[in-house]
Assembly symmetry: C2
């Protein structure tokens, strides 16, 4: 039988993640409208559990050198603005808190795209409340009120639980896509996740 | 100006590498005829230099669990036979020595495809000389003479130098593709490497 409802695509992303930048930019043009559930989370605790206290791209220099060149090529291919950040990784905790709030209020996607662009195209310090505040103002939101809501214990807890959920789902990197019981890792797997969500409708 | 010669695609692969299995199977249908230079090498020394004494898929269980499911999905998609090996990673040293010899004599590609299939579809112990001998016999080669040539010091040294060359090229995983000065990592990047080799012809 054909189930008419869309199988949702959970989109798990982290603001420090370079390949998440590519996925954030293109997911809404690849996935059917309304199918994407934006799930900001933190890779830090997941990396720490693997024994890493830094990005693997810093810990393993050959892998890091490759990633920066690969990112530059991929951004060039799709015409996405890119400038290598002078600091990497930047702390995405505040941005993730705000994005988590935003995704429940319908402005999480626009906010997230703007933060990734600030980090990976404009080399801005996204850990700074002033930078996040400017991004919120550009989106027509009240920076102070929004930051205050994002920093409320309930929202902070909710983001923490979301990161724990990522661990339980077997997520170990970003971006990741979850469709039903299937996990897809990496910007390269976005199309496969979308295909799976279409296939998953036939049960 | 347009340079008429094909820009070669160096194809770096390791017999223990799961994603190399996918690339070995399809590279000759994706890349223009005669453009691929087969470069077997060993990841072991490269991993060791990064502080790993095992495959990262064993060291990081979440990543490993994902990889096996991803491999199963990808093999299913392209109709490539697949059975999860009961031992992973298998030691690919002997196979790499034989493949290195074979690539200079024109039978390296057929041999390599057969070894990957033995490992990832038939769950055979490719570290065993008897298994490599059977594969050689199936290809119409004299197993004993070929194994003896593969174990000559000059061939062993040549493979060692090839692995050193991989390190100098910045290779940190397999499969990798090198086109001119550009490195592409992963089965997912095969098409990008082929595109680059076409682009690289215009100088």
């Amino acid at each position: 039988m054909i189930v008419p409802a869309l199988t949702p695509i959970q989109f798990w992303y982290e603001f420090a993640s370079t390949y998440s930048y590519l996925a954030v930019d293109r997911i809404e043009s690849v996935a059917p409208q309304g199918s994407v559930v934006w799930k900001p989370f933190l890779l830090g605790p997941i990396f720490k559990a693997q024994g890493w206290n830094d990005s693997p791209f810093n810990l393993y220099p050959a892998k890091g050198a490759y990633m920066w060149r690969d990112l530059e090529r991929l951004c060039g291919e799709v015409g996405l603005p890119y400038r290598r950040p002078t600091r990497f990784p930047r702390n995405g905790l505040l941005a993730a808190r705000v994005a988590h709030l935003g995704s429940s209020e319908g402005w999480g996607a626009d906010f997230s795209r703007a933060v990734f662009r600030a980090n990976f195209a404009e080399d801005r310090e996204i850990a700074e409340p002033s930078v996040i505040g400017e991004i919120l103002a550009d989106l027509g939101r009240d920076p102070e009120a929004t930051l205050a809501s994002a920093l409320e214990p309930s929202n902070k807890d909710a983001l923490r639980r979301q990161t724990e959920e990522a661990t339980h789902l077997g997520i170990f990197g970003a971006p990741s896509f979850v469709v039903g019981d299937e996990l897809f890792w990496g910007n390269d797997r976005l199309e496969a996740a979308v295909d799976w969500s279409r296939r998953a409708k036939e049960v």
